[in-house]
């Protein structure tokens, strides 16, 4: 069984959606409380969306110091797959597990709507089931999703192919606006150099069930299942 730990912080609110999505695709998913120091043999760790610690000070700034984060860092340092979704992405940036930061949306408002993204990086544990440059429609729901990074960091992310998801410029067929938050280079998700830590603003767990209207996010969960069933693939980096 693929064991997926979903970390709950005070204020996490996508924890159940994430757990159910992982279960739907065959994982043995369970919650780990932020005070826990043991991930209980997790193969994959997911930091779900929400408003950990009320987003006080800055989104993710306080969750970073939760006791569980030591174990999460160790898991990732050993090459373990780690996915941060929305607030989870913010926590990964605050914890310096991913570069950059997520700031207040350029339009100031909380944005909750479907957006179109392309999957640019398909050799991560979470995106291996997608075709490169395939286009997905996924929901976003955030007030602070504007990805910013120093110019040399942005250049590094681009040159190393570390942009995992990118908001797509609107096409004639798309009713949705590109880049809902003013992110640099339309970045919606990135990974670390090794490719085992991925942070994304869109919510694949909200788009992994036909009942919810969108299914484009299911690939994140089928990818991690496929990875674990074929561990010899390991974590690849470019």
């Amino acid at each position: 069984m693929t064991r997926v730990a979903v970390v709950r912080f005070p204020g996490s609110n996508c924890d159940f959606d994430t757990l159910r999505a992982a279960e739907r695709y065959g994982a043995e998913a369970y919650f780990v409380w932020h005070r826990d120091v043991d991930l209980r043999g997790a193969d994959v760790v997911i930091l779900p969306g929400g408003f950990s610690y009320g987003d006080y000070l800055r989104s993710g700034a306080i969750a970073r110091f939760s006791p569980v984060m030591q174990a999460v860092k160790q898991h990732a340092a050993g090459g373990g797959p780690l996915l941060g979704i929305c607030n989870g992405f913010q926590i990964l940036c605050e914890a310096h597990l991913l570069p950059g930061a997520l700031m207040r949306n350029a339009g100031l408002t909380f944005v909750s709507k479907p957006v179109d993204v392309t999957v640019e990086r398909t050799d991560t544990v979470f995106t291996a089931d997608y075709e490169t440059d395939s286009r997905l429609r996924l929901p976003v729901a955030h007030g602070e999703g504007r990805f910013v990074a120093a110019p040399d960091t942005l250049r590094m992310l681009e040159s190393e192919g570390r942009v995992v998801l990118r908001y797509v410029a609107a096409t004639e067929r798309s009713p949705f606006q590109p880049n809902p938050n003013g992110s640099a280079n339309h970045i919606a998700g990135i990974c670390n150099a090794e490719g085992n830590i991925v942070g994304i603003m869109p919510h694949p767990e909200r788009a992994a069930d036909r009942l919810l209207g969108l299914t484009g996010g299911s690939g994140f969960f089928t990818s991690l299942m496929a990875w674990h069933q074929a561990p010899k693939m390991g974590v690849q980096s470019r």
């Binding site: 700034a61 700031m103 339009g107 003013g182």
Partner: protein, 83 residues
């Protein structure tokens, strides 16, 4: 001794500050045509127990670097005064 630390955490120059822009638009709408270059940050005050002003400032800088300011997006100014 206890020192009072006044922190001013501001969005880094050159980064888009949509809050500042919105406030500037509101000021203009109110007729304050002379207002410009508005930026919005946050002020934090805290008491720091230390044996000297220098130690209090050093401690406060550590707090800023570790938690109170994000080095990617924010700059901070701090003032230390005896309580």
């Amino acid at each position: 001794m206890t020192f009072r630390v006044h922190l001013r955490v501001m969005p880094r120059d050159g980064l888009l500050d949509p809050q500042g822009q919105a406030v500037e638009h509101a000021l203009t709408a109110l007729g304050f045509e002379e207002a410009g270059a508005v930026r919005v940050g946050r002020a934090i005050e805290l008491a720091v127990a230390a044996s000297s002003r220098g130690e209090a400032e050093a401690k406060a800088r550590q707090m800023c670097d570790k938690l109170l300011a994000n080095p990617v997006t924010e700059d901070y100014l701090l003032e230390v005064e005896e309580d």
